[in-house]
Symmetry: C2
Subunit: 319 residues, 2 copies
């Protein structure tokens, strides 16, 4: 890419992080900015926890646990055991090494640093090259509307293991939340050459990012390629509750429903929608939404898979 | 003791905790209230840390490290190592099990609980019988005036290892800090039968407690015995910087200087001043301050030593 030209990738946690890792490996250190959902952030035991940012930091730095799918490889659990002995809440599992991240972040935030500054510090401490940007330095909190009432996101996601049927979502604080200032600078400077919407949950990972005041409209006006990758493959979510949510919201559980959601909510934003070969039959109906449709294998097990999908997406963006 | 009659012991950390343990072993579970200095409390890595309360909780529940003199026996250091790897400040050493205490406290405080309520919760979780009361639920912060400028207490005490010469102390927030509400109830109900000022640092452990608005005057008006135990033995502090502080403040480094400090600052409060046998020669000059002087061995190495001194103090209080 030309000097200063960057890919902007919008992502939530685990699913999006896989493609983010592929992009990070395919692009130079100054060619990728990751804009990460922070509407899952929450306070727990006095700490500020940013689950999606941490997933990105751990995944990109090669620290994430392969076995568990979350948290750190080689994690230990001394603090959790002591918390259990004190009768404290332990539904959100805090590993010892993971805790160091939360402590450093919480301490710096308490000292007045922005989440952007703290995330940069953590990224440097972990030897990361790509720019990991929280979607906003202002607090936004996803509330999940369920058959059992409104639940804070982590209560729904972790404590209740996504069991309650959802009827909708709201993002508290989003009206007053400014998009990440470093991103705004890059947008203003014309440094963004393409935008990738990673295969993250459209409702609770991508929507809070895109619904920051003015952000999706500004991206749409960039006249650079915007490529979204479906998180739904063969009627199932690779990871997380996206498929269950589609069903509970009364939508078809397929990649087309995700494309329709983006088209309806963000008209004209997505230029190309990437679906899995297993969903090739959906291509025509998605094309009717006014998007180009690109079909390829989107499952990302190995690092090679991730890099291959990243190359495919970058090629669709003309990069 | 008669039903409902209690000993109130004022204490800071390690030195006072030894006598507190002796008192706890000599008295019934409902016969001891410990009022603990919280002017050393501070925020670190987003956590609310109450060093003196924790020392009391750990000492009374038999959890404290014999070897280190602070923190927990059998502690592990996974989080500290991870913090070091992230380049975080680690001058205040956080053990994994100790962290669980700070996390539980910080989480409950953030949820709106008072420090008194959280301390009660922690005490119960650790199986403690005596009542451990923070001196106040309101924040008070010791500032150490030194030759190098003003330092927050933990920076002076831990980070700088008490090196800078002190010229005085102030307790930020103390004017607006109410004494512990549970203590005020006990005082109002006439439940306090005797008051013990433990052998803690007079300047940074006992003074902040006694200088809570109205507290020492209220204790003085109780007309119950008030027994103070000297933290200085043979011209040395058993633990901590009390002797160094006396010298830097231009006072003689002996038990008499502590007695004179109490007599001058809290006239009429202390009825009996307990000094070590090694300091028997000071008895007459201390008696001139209007206090009874009691001489005994005050070194507390073994649990037997602690219980013996506790019995001695209780006997001097007529209990």
């Amino acid at each position: 890419m030309a000097g200063g030209a960057r890919v902007l990738a919008l992502t939530g946690g685990v699913g999006g992080a896989k493609l983010a890792l592929g992009l990070a490996r395919e692009l130079g250190p100054r060619e990728l900015s990751l804009l990460v959902n922070t509407a899952d952030d929450f306070k727990h035991l006095g700490l500020h926890i940013s689950p999606d940012i941490d997933t990105l930091l751990y995944t990109l730095s090669g620290r994430s646990s392969r076995e568990r799918g979350w948290g750190l490889e080689g994690e230990t659990w001394q603090v959790r055991e002591a918390l259990e002995n004190l009768g404290a809440e332990t539904w959100f599992q805090l590993g010892d090494r993971d805790l160091a991240t939360h402590l450093l972040r919480s301490g710096r935030l308490a000292a007045g640093d922005s989440l952007t500054a703290v995330t940069r510090l953590l990224g440097r401490a972990m030897g990361l090259e790509p720019e990991v940007l929280p979607m906003s330095d202002d607090p936004v909190s996803t509330v999940v509307h369920t058959a059992e009432g409104d639940l804070p996101f982590q209560h729904y996601f972790v404590r209740r293991a996504c069991e309650p049927a959802v009827s909708g979502f709201s993002f508290e604080g989003i009206e007053g939340a400014a998009p990440n200032p470093a991103l705004l600078e890059r947008l203003a400077a014309g440094e963004i050459a393409a935008v990738v919407i990673c295969p993250s949950n459209p409702f609770v990972s991508v929507d809070p990012v895109l619904q920051l005041p003015g952000l999706w409209q500004r991206i749409a006006q960039l006249s650079v390629p915007v490529i979204a990758v479906s998180p739904i493959v063969g009627g199932r979510a690779i990871k997380g509750p996206a498929a269950k949510m589609l069903a509970e919201l009364g939508m078809p559980v397929d990649a087309g429903a995700v494309a329709r959601h983006y088209a309806a909510r963000y008209p004209g934003l997505v230029d190309t929608f990437v679906i899995d070969s297993a969903d090739a039959a959906l291509a025509d109906s998605i094309a009717e939404l006014g998007m180009a449709v690109a079909v390829t294998g989107t499952l990302m097990e190995s690092l090679d898979d991730k890099r291959r999908l990243a190359r495919f997406v970058l090629a669709r963006a003309g990069l």
